[in-house]
Symmetry: C2
């Protein structure tokens, strides 16, 4: 279709301003390839990558498509291990360890590491068109290395202040991530958890505040959301939950089943799984402990205490302790191949535009 706002099409060299959200663990190269081949921007979630696994994935992408794609990294601060807090947190979860006959796991180091020089080397070697970051941007030297070779940089903002910061520090486009979005809130300057801005309010305020193109994210599930985002001033959209039921997604069967049953009010922002607020379907763990706990160890250390419970529960066929990442529009998610989903979204967008005209 003839998109009214061409800024992202030109910046990313794509046909449709539909970005498949990078979802570490569930969005493999095959999904990114399918989306990019369909004219959108496919993304690889590389938050948990090592240089070797990243190289392997980028080689698959390069061989799989001649179109542009995006690789995403986290740029959080590596946390300090706090033995007392880890111990307090295990005490809080002790009844669950007993229930599953598990010994509380010993605290371990972080399993998710921030973007670093070694990963940057691989990126420069295999040159994806776009690199996006969650929780800020890399330090000035790493950012400059990426910019020097012409890689397009995208940051993620949950507030106007964060969007302005990203623009000032070299981002070429900014994702305005409304509170409806599934998975981790990209917040990195926001200090008040209670102040989570929804997509409808966030996008126009970010669009007013920055000159770089804005990508709307959060609660966008079909062509209606795409047109809404464009009306609000976004040049494109990023959609994650919408791709979780594609055959390409590595969404586990328990997660797929939960998504298919999710209602508009089935999710909450919770820090129990990783230590950072992230939106997931409320399951037994979130309901019983309460979605936000100040005792949870900092990101990503909270994963250590919860993981054995997840494994034990899943072995019994239960998603009671599984992070069931989801946005608030899960009920709009379709079970279509990723490329077909992009084509469907484009057709829906045309239909909605015709309806509101």
């Amino acid at each position: 279709m003839n998109w009214p706002d061409r800024r992202l099409l030109d910046l990313f060299a794509i046909d449709h301003p539909i970005i498949q959200a990078p979802m570490a663990g569930v969005a493999p190269p095959a999904m990114a390839i399918a989306v990019s081949e369909a004219g959108g921007l496919g993304s690889l979630g590389s938050a948990t990558a090592t240089p070797d696994s990243l190289r392997a994935d980028l080689q698959v992408l390069r061989q799989g498509t001649g179109r542009a794609y995006n690789v995403n990294f986290f740029v959080h601060e590596d946390p300090e291990t706090d033995a007392e807090r880890e111990s307090r947190w295990r005490a809080c979860l002790s009844s669950y360890y007993r229930e599953f006959g598990l010994a509380p796991p010993a605290p371990s180091g972080p399993t998710i590491r921030p973007f670093n020089a070694a990963l940057c080397d691989v990126v420069l070697e295999l040159r994806p068109k776009v690199v996006s970051f969650h929780f800020g941007l890399p330090d000035a030297a790493l950012t400059q290395r990426l910019k020097d070779v012409g890689i397009v940089l995208v940051g993620c903002a949950t507030t106007v202040k964060e969007a302005r910061w990203l623009e000032a520090h070299g981002a070429d486009a900014v994702v305005a991530q409304g509170a409806e979005a599934g998975g981790h809130r990209g917040m990195f300057l926001a200090d008040q958890f209670a102040c989570q801005t929804g997509t409808m309010a966030l996008v126009p305020q970010v669009a007013d505040a920055v000159k770089i193109p804005v990508i709307a994210a959060g609660g966008i599930g079909d062509g209606r959301g795409i047109v809404a985002a464009m009306a609000l001033g976004a040049a494109g959209v990023q959609m994650g939950t919408a791709f979780l039921l594609t055959p390409e997604a590595r969404t586990a069967p328990l997660h797929r089943a939960a998504l298919k049953e999710a209602d508009d009010d089935s999710t909450a922002l919770t820090n129990l799984f990783t230590g950072r607020p992230a939106r997931a379907i409320v399951n037994r763990y979130v309901r019983e402990v309460g979605p936000i706990s100040s005792d949870a160890p900092p990101f990503p250390l909270a994963m250590g205490a919860a993981h054995p419970l997840r494994v034990a529960a899943e072995a019994k066929g239960s998603a009671d302790f599984t992070p069931l990442w989801s946005g608030q529009a899960a009920s709009l998610t379709r079970e279509l191949p990723a490329g077909e989903l992009v084509a469907t979204l484009v057709a829906e967008t045309e239909a909605v535009l015709a309806r509101v005209q």
Copy 2:
């Protein structure tokens, strides 16, 4: 302009599907008259009305405009006073009473009463075209009395489940109130506070679930939001914060000043002021006590303990204890007369439609 969706225009007999939100205390008859005369639907917030004050207001409205207008009531359950909880809450606030040299106020009865037969009598006598409700709908007998004389009934939903309930119990249209909205969350069936759905996700899911027209609310500040709401499947919008800086609004000077300085992330949902979750600009009271407290007495009894602090602080020129109701798009609010604001919103809507076409 030529609105693509005419359902609300026909139902309410208005020219533009822009509803000024009923805001008890700040939206007087003069604001409703100005909005209705401009072709939108003006609303009177009558949550605190007595039969006599309601009659007086409705007479002003009837004399002020021949167009349709809306009168809003609350339909919460009258609370039981719980002496122990009231005492615990005063203990929680004790340092503030000391700071202002106040004795903790004795618990008193509710200052906001639900819609009842006496108010219904006045409504039937003066026949506004539209009556809307917050926190559900009145009992079947009262609802039937209103329907029997052809009054159009509007309910407010924060979830798909609530929207379905309202449709099944006689609502002719439903407000889908996203979490961005200022003031009280209309929630009446939702049991999990953490699951607050944003407008972008809520509106299409509600539109898919009910046959009655949907009015989008929450975070809509200008023509961009109006077109976005239409794209999402709404037949119209309800805007509150957008009208708080009109000269017609009874917004106090301290509240106006706070709104003018508000950013996208300045607000939070808090139950400290009234006992029910409501979105307000975070001030000292909300920041220090924390926005949600399980000790706060039930709606509307929490008002009793906080009110003397508000009065004492305001006497010193401080909004530290004032409920500064606001949605998340306060930065988009314009200081225009209410009728001019409606005309501006219509012109903006036309411009946005032209841009996205």
